[in-house]
């Protein structure tokens, strides 16, 4: 990583910045402007205000645009796009500026069409409700609007048949005799009635009617029910045709959603450019900026900049002590596991990139925890489909995850053969124990103690891997003595204790392994006791530090025991799969039985794959973060984030002239 300083003419500032953004290789450094420099800065309030106004406009447009894109993607996702190619050149992206008005107009049309559609749908629903009520009243031949005279009121509504005599009785009890109840039409359980009352009784009768569940007719239009029904039908037809037209219109917009993507991404890029353009320090005629640039391209960038612009470029080589952003570079296999590190945080500039060390262990532990041929193949095939069929962009965060899961699926398949798991014990349980899936090593369900020991042995190997990383780091820091006093003794102690307690069972060599182990552990412990406190002058405080150093054995013990989770997760995956197979074999038999068995198998195993896959991912990550990184990782760096075209919807073709080769 180098530092680049650019001093140039102010009138060229915009084009230099745009050039840098297009190349995407420089991370700008925000410099703090001192008081005196600030006074040198020209007053450009007018320009700045214009810039701010444009920025606000873009932000507003972008929010609206994104909501429109969301609508189109949710409802019309399967409408084919006019231009299906989401890969565009950066010039195409920038030239969209000329069509900005046009696209915004298109967007406004779409928005109003969508709103119109929603309004019409609400109106249609209301009319439909009226229609449902009117269906009962079709045979009634009165004008619904004429419901009153000067002294009387007509109440139209539905009344339960059983309620009619009770209502009549209640009316006489309340001595309201000037009321007529006319039955206009009758259904199965109800009558359609018109109740003619005197205006002065209105309140009282309304109360009475409420008691008897009188269902008022809520329509007050002119014409007989039949006429209203007809005219409503016409209205609905009209609405339906309009909605259909709007629908086709929306589909035509959806086909053009590429333009919306284009404009939205253009806005994103422009906003990033605006915020970058605030970083350089301006004087009346010049600007200056500083940034980080990868060493592989720095010379080429210097030449290109000096050729194309009137600028002075200075490149300084940075040393690890200076501190600079981290740009990880890994081979394809290790690179797939880079996001595990990116999630944790960047290493410091002084230490080794942990990715190559972490990758094989992540591969191994994920595979062990899932360890099922069926699940592994499903995972691998799913990810392969995403990568090669759907062309998912593997440079994005989710794309990297897919790439990693693809590899992890392969590992799970391999471990599945080792432990003999194919969707749990599906073959055995479905064939009534006639077929057994072969296992190459042993089945953890039959011999969990064996896997318990082995998962701790794999854990020790993992920890030793971390200690090797630590050795590499100490060599980089130039502290060779630390290797012999702080790391090697622990190799001796751990291997020694392992042999001491486990060696007697491995009686394949003529040596007494336990005896060898004992002496290894004693030598290691002696070195730790004597040298852990070597920085201290006083002999007693040095010994006390040594005892404190020996206490580290507890940490290692805790770390090693932490790997027993591998056994638990292996068992969890296979036992849940077994339960699913058990349930399926209980219902199987007959066509219906087999149908349900297949449904149970499919749903259950997909659920188990999701849950066990998530567990395998997070727990193998945790083993990296806590146990592996705990051995050597310092951290404290930050990742390289160059000024570039960062888009959300489209992908920009790589056309940088000097992209690292």
């Amino acid at each position: 990583m180098d530092k680049i300083k650019i001093l140039g003419l102010r009138k060229e500032k915009a084009s230099v910045l745009q050039f840098l953004q297009k190349q995407g290789v420089v991370e700008l450094i925000e410099t703090e402007v001192s008081e005196s420099e600030l006074s040198n800065q020209v007053d450009e309030s007018e320009q700045r205000l214009a810039l701010q106004a444009r920025e606000a406009e873009i932000l507003q447009n972008q929010t609206r645009l994104n909501s429109a894109i969301q609508i189109l993607e949710n409802k019309y996702a399967n409408v084919p796009q006019e231009s299906a190619d989401l890969l565009i050149s950066s010039d195409d992206l920038l030239s969209v500026q000329e069509r900005e008005r046009e696209i915004i107009e298109l967007f406004d049309q779409m928005k109003s069409a969508e709103e119109h559609k929603i309004d019409l749908a609400a109106e249609r629903e209301q009319i439909q409700r009226e229609q449902d009520i009117l269906l009962d009243w079709l045979k009634v031949d009165i004008n619904l609007e004429q419901t009153s005279t000067e002294r009387t009121l007509v109440l139209l509504g539905r009344l339960e048949k059983t309620a009619l005599p009770e209502l009549e009785q209640a009316l006489t009890e309340n001595s309201i005799s000037e009321t007529a109840i006319l039955t206009l039409d009758s259904g199965e359980t109800f009558d359609l009635t018109a109740i003619v009352i005197m205006r002065e009784h209105e309140l009282l009768i309304n109360q009475l009617l409420k008691q008897f569940d009188f269902n008022y007719l809520p329509i007050n239009k002119s014409g007989t029910p039949n006429q209203i029904y007809r005219s409503n039908e016409q209205k609905i037809n009209k609405i339906d045709t309009t909605v259909h037209e709007l629908e086709t219109k929306m589909k035509s917009f959806a086909a053009k959603r590429f333009d919306f993507y284009l404009l939205s991404d253009y806005y994103t890029v422009t906003l990033e450019y605006f915020s970058a353009s605030k970083i350089p320090v301006d004087t009346l005629y010049t600007f200056s900026l500083e940034g980080y640039i990868p060493r592989t391209v720095s010379r080429k960038a210097e030449k290109k900049l000096e050729d194309d612009f009137t600028v002075l470029v200075e490149i300084t080589e940075l040393k690890p002590e200076d501190g600079y952003p981290i740009l990880l570079k890994n081979k394809p296999f290790a690179g797939a596991f880079q996001n595990v590190l990116e999630m944790f945080g960047a290493p410091s500039t002084r230490e080794i990139d942990p990715t190559p060390g972490l990758a094989p262990f992540m591969f191994m532990f994920f595979g062990m925890m899932l360890s099922d041929v069926g699940y592994g193949l499903l995972l691998t095939l799913g990810c392969a489909c995403l990568i090669w069929k759907k062309k998912i962009d593997t440079s994005t965060e989710s794309g990297q995850l897919v790439r990693m899961l693809f590899l992890c699926g392969i590992s799970s398949t391999l471990w599945g053969f080792v432990f003999g798991g194919f969707f749990g014990d599906m073959l055995t349980s479905m064939s009534d124990s006639n077929i057994n899936f072969p296992c190459l090593w042993f089945n953890p369900m039959d011999d969990p103690q064996k896997l318990l020991i082995w998962s701790m042995i794999f854990g020790v190997i993992h920890l030793f891997g971390g200690m090797v990383m630590k050795i590499i780091n100490e060599i980089k820091f130039g502290k060779i003595s630390n290797i012999f006093f702080d790391i090697i003794p622990w190799f001796l102690i751990i291997i020694g204790l392992g042999l001491l307690f486990g060696g007697s069972s491995l009686s394949m060599t003529p040596f007494d392994l336990a005896e060898v182990g004992k002496w290894m552990a004693i030598v290691g412990a002696a070195v730790v006791l004597l040298f852990a406190g070597r920085a201290k002058k006083n002999i007693f405080s040095r010994l006390i530090s040594g005892i404190g150093g020996l206490y580290g054995v507890v940490n290692y013990l805790g770390d090693i025991l932490s790997y027993t989770r591998v056994l638990a997760l292996v068992l969890a995956t296979s036992v849940i799969a077994t339960v699913i197979n058990f349930l399926a074999s209980m219902v199987s038999g007959g066509i219906i039985g087999w149908f349900f068995a297949v449904v149970i198998l499919i749903c259950g195993h997909i659920l188990n794959l999701a849950l066990s896959g998530l567990s395998a991912y997070v727990h193998s990550s945790r083993l990296q973060y806590v146990e592996f990184f705990g051995q050597f990782f310092e951290g404290g760096g930050w990742f390289f984030k160059p000024l570039r075209y960062k888009t959300n919807y489209l992908k920009i073709k790589e056309e940088q002239q000097f992209k690292s080769s």
């Binding site: 969990p448 318990l452 638990a568 969890a572």
Partner: protein
Amino acid sequence: MIVLEKLGPFFTLLAAAMAAFLPGLGSAKSVSRLGQAINGVLTEQPELFGRALILQALPGTQGIYGLLTLFLILTRSGLMEYGFSADITWYQGLLWIAASLPNTIVGYISAIYQAKVCETGIALIAKRSDQHARVIVLAVVVETYAIFALLASVLAIFSLS
């Protein structure tokens, strides 16, 4: 004493049932609490649904571990195969209860404690959705102890049969 002698299958079933229902209860409690917290976040940021769902699922695993223990006890004790006629003495039954205790108790409690980490994690991703992965790792540190308890129960079950 005669009554006690016939209680072997009962104790075994009790062990299995406890292993399933207490962690399940803890998981249900936690998942429901998280669901409520997530609903609050979703009113403002519906796009976080996918990420929040994973967090909600995390304390659900204890319930699954409980089911797993139940299954292992039922098969290993022979209760699933022989049912009423299973030949289990009462002190064997008590041993099954003892074996199921680690997963039963730690599973129940760790689910609730894990939910507390997830709940604050949801508040965190509502503000900074890029921190999602770290929140998961922090919650998984709590789950470690549910896994160890499961391991303890499983080893005990395997050593009994």
